[in-house]
Symmetry: C2
Subunit: 109 residues, 2 copies
């Protein structure tokens, strides 16, 4: 019985193509808490190299989920925050956090 | 202002360590629809090589999220399905599907 690559499966694929790159959803998680400077995100996310963080932020910015604001201080301050579209990721982060909490509890038992 | 690697962020990290490997959540999506034979999953997921599908199924099995059942037919039939624990992934898949649908609609506009 052949099974077609379904349209709904395709949506999960679409979402994971963007968010499945390992730490992007973790970046989003920290931005849900409010806008952060690059250096603050670096401290939140010691698992990610500076280069990967830059690339992931750029990809999220290109997908219009993250907004980059430059303040004309000396030196300039660059701040990242969720865009209006990015707020749609709040429930995604929330469900992932719940599952992660449950997983940790289970594996501790 | 130093920021600690928070316990809740850590839960998202834990979840993504397991599910963020790109196509695992897509495998789960297809298993939400009911148990599947390996060959059926292969047809659902042409994006994944046979080797990667095998490795991902094994990882999900080791995490007790997927159950593998062997039927003593000739040749043997191997079937994969969500375990009781794996059912906890249904809301994760659902929220990811909704986001993916929205993303596709947005980018089509």
């Amino acid at each position: 019985m052949a099974m077609k690559h379904s349209a709904t499966g395709c949506s999960v694929e679409e979402a994971m193509r963007l968010l499945g790159v390992r730490w992007r959803l973790l970046i989003i998680f920290y931005l849900v808490g409010g806008p952060k400077r690059f250096s603050e995100l670096r401290r939140c996310l010691p698992v990610i190299s500076q280069r990967m963080l830059t690339l992931d932020l750029r990809a999220l910015e290109e997908a219009d989920l993250v907004e980059r604001t430059v303040f004309p201080t000396v030196p300039v301050t660059v701040q990242y925050g969720l865009s209006v579209d990015g707020l749609r990721l709040v429930p995604v982060v929330e469900v992932m956090r719940s599952f992660g909490l449950w997983l940790k509890e289970r594996d501790r038992a």
